[in-house]
Symmetry: C2
Subunit: 478 residues, 2 copies
């Protein structure tokens, strides 16, 4: 029975949510700590989830005309510092290269914390005419931000992401791009990751360093804390002017293009864990699961069982699914626990009696529901069950979100609601940073976003009582 | 006629091969220099070639069970220095991070020049039993080597690559892996890039720092200089011992696994340029071309022409090809020159007369051959012409290789042959480094490899006259 021990128990999320999260990261073999402090290793299973996310997002970006490029990872200090707000935002977190081989560099080089500066520098040299606009670029890479405290996927000194950078002839086009990419992320969260989001705009205090406007998709985890899913920024022509990016306009005058950037990171894996996971481990949305269907032969020593399991696998592979058979000599109990831990969306069991009856049994990871299906209908039944897995996951996450948005009409009420229920607390707000700071100090919540779908909850700011300008969501965030 | 000027002439390769190469890199919009000395930017067209290379190679790696991971980009100096030979090989070229944010680090961190050390460090913590072997890992990333002189794709301080790292229970399995991956690269060069290669083993002088054996695929460029295409290394258990990577063997004793690594880089784009390009620009193998077919409407203002061109594009897209129509108002002459510069394998022309005759004209980039085909047979005709493009490119490159391998029986003869013809000069060799140095000093050639297919050209080393051990290829290399 020694093997039974290999799938160790993880901490219950109700007992210690943070420990439950870390347990899943380790036990599902997603990440491992590196010997460099604050850095993590994406192990094969974790990286395979990221590859699936990349493939789907990259396809969406390309459908709307974006092209991938690769910019240098090191940015000269002088170049980074040309735009004041950006450098003030990132300078405290930059890792600096000071030596190349045995020589000390004349100018320090920053490991990119983000690449607006490099894209602008490049555009300042290659852009000439309005005919070349828009330039719609993206890159997949890692960045470094020297964080003090780190957690797998959520906050790590190095993380993997994509950063889209575009320039446009007009402000309107750039604003439309910012919005399009925000919606692209929202769709990805809702239709691929099964995580409902709130689309909104960040306050000036919370926006990206140097941006004119930052838009965000905010989601809610199972512990009712908020998580910023992905962001899309509009820069106006601020960076163009700082980096002297110009083009000859239709009217033959020299003009500055309008710019956007937008990014999503391996933090999305953290969002999936905390939006869907349970006390048996990870629960993966089918579209990003490295293995979508695990086939487990029951009483596999009996004649015909392994062959039948192999035949199921081959049919499902032919149907375009990611499928594996586990015919190892581990016990059935161990196998079930193992693939639950790893969040495989659907388990297929087939044993001697099933074969006799011309059927197999499908078991959904998200709710444990079992369905016996005729072998003749395997492909359609599996497709249907995977749809139900997705639908069930989304419905549960949507319920969690919907049931955890509360309106408040004072800081005290906001605080009490947050302490009792967690979630998003919505209030009216005057637009002043002083009131944001008051909410932070008195209720421990940061502003999450001003939802694009505004509601009128009242006339005045709940913090200062002056006329309200926005309805805003507050929360305790990762 | 101003637009006619936009496709500028490039230097003829016969006049100045190096300038011709640089001209293509810039004019085909593959790369641009960055403002960081020695660093380059992969522009959309260059990066799209790299993406195609990645997709194909990654698919091959996965077919043989390899999994992708992501290791930290920074390596602590102490960890890097555990294996003496490796650090001696790379230390002079390492970029060092010394500061994180405002604090000076206690220990310097190296920007990875290669990641054997990180993989070993990880394995030392996660490997326990022979049951977990082999571990077949790969990662796609960039590395930095602080080179003095740089050239786009060929030698750059940062370059993009994949590095495979595997550990195995036995030496035989690791050796088989090294060989399998060498053959994987050779097949990729020959069957995808249309570049014939010589498979061989590097001498001890030229092998990878710390490797027990390095295998290489060597190819020949149009200027008859050699280029190392990709390499595959066998480490024995040297790194396992240095980094204390152990597992419990089948006999219940503690053992060291046997290790390999293998890599290929964006330098392959340089190989494609110099193996196939001509004085009109790039010539791309169909499998890695970002645009495989460009459809050019002739007299596009005439009724029905744009519609016909669009219909061709849609049919070819449906056939799974990467296709574009250029219906810009640039002249036909400019368009032809532009897509020749960019190396698009096949041009499809369709004008009013073609429509009348129910045909279109296919023009091959590699040899300019034109073929009129019936519209009804478009898909099969295009597939056939793309095959002929590949075959023609391969045949030409093979002829160049076959006609530039010369046998020599003395250093003087080797030198004279190299000076007259370039190419690979093959001789017998005793195996001593002193003779390699003599060849380098007296004939200006480095050893390229000891081909796996050995020939017996004589009994003695052409350098020292002692008994020969190997037949070896010499050349002037990129």
């Amino acid at each position: 029975m020694a093997k039974e021990k290999r799938v160790e128990q993880i901490t219950d999320m109700e007992v210690d949510f943070a420990q439950w999260y870390t347990d899943i990261c380790r036990k599902a073999e997603l990440v491992e700590y590196a010997s460099v402090k604050g850095f993590t290793i994406l192990r094969p299973y974790g990286y395979a989830i990221w590859e699936n996310m990349q493939r789907i997002l990259d396809g969406e970006f390309k459908k709307t005309g974006h092209e991938n490029v690769a910019m240098p990872v090191l940015i000269p200090e002088g170049l980074l510092k040309k735009e004041g707000e950006l450098v003030n935002g990132f300078a405290p977190e930059v890792a600096w290269v000071t030596h190349g081989g045995s020589e000390e560099l004349e100018e320090r080089l920053a490991f990119r914390p983000t690449s607006e500066t490099m894209f602008c520098d490049h555009w300042s040299r290659v852009l000439h005419s309005w005919r070349e606009l828009p330039m719609l670029y993206n890159q997949w890479c890692s960045v470094i931000r020297w964080e003090k405290t780190t957690r797998p996927f959520l906050r790590s000194r190095e993380f993997w992401w994509q950063e889209g950078h575009t320039i446009h002839e007009t402000a309107e086009e750039a604003q439309a791009e910012t919005e399009q990419q925000l919606n692209c992320y929202a769709d990805f969260f809702e239709k691929v990751l099964a995580i409902p989001v709130v689309r909104g705009r960040k306050t000036d205090k919370e926006k990206f360093a140097g941006a004119e406007a930052t838009y965000t998709v905010e989601c809610l985890m199972k512990d009712h804390k908020a998580l910023q899913g992905a962001t899309s920024h509009y820069f106006g022509d601020k960076f163009s002017r700082a980096y002297d990016v110009t083009f000859t306009g239709r009217d033959n005058t020299l003009r500055y293009p309008f710019q956007t950037s937008w990014g999503s990171t391996t933090r999305m894996i953290g969002a999936v864990i905390m939006a869907h996971g349970d006390n048996n481990g990870l629960v993966l949305p089918p579209a990003v699961a490295p293995v979508q269907v695990i086939v487990l032969p029951v009483a596999q020593h009996k004649p015909g069982v392994l062959e039948a399991a192999g035949a199921l696998r081959d049919r499902l592979l032919a149907a375009g699914l990611r499928v594996k058979v586990d015919d190892s000599d581990n016990s059935m109990g161990w196998k079930c626990a193992q693939y639950e831990m790893k969040g495989v969306p659907l388990r297929v069991e087939i044993g001697p009696r099933d074969i006799e009856n011309g059927q197999c049994v499908l078991v959904r990871r998200n709710d444990g529901e079992k369905t016996a299906v005729a072998l003749a209908e395997l492909e359609s039944a599996v497709a249907e069950q995977l749809r139900l897995v997705f639908d069930g996951m989304y419905a549960k996450a949507k319920k969690n979100l919907d049931e955890h948005i509360f309106a408040a009409s004072s800081i005290e009420e906001a605080k009490a609601l947050q302490e009792k229920n967690g979630g998003f607390i919505k209030t009216m707000w005057c637009g002043e940073e002083a009131c944001e700071l008051a909410m932070k100090e008195q209720a421990g919540m940061s502003s999450r976003c001003m939802p694009l779908e505004q509601e009128k909850l009242g006339e005045v700011c709940v913090c200062c009582g002056k006329p309200a300008k926005h309805m805003i969501y507050w929360g305790v965030a990762y």
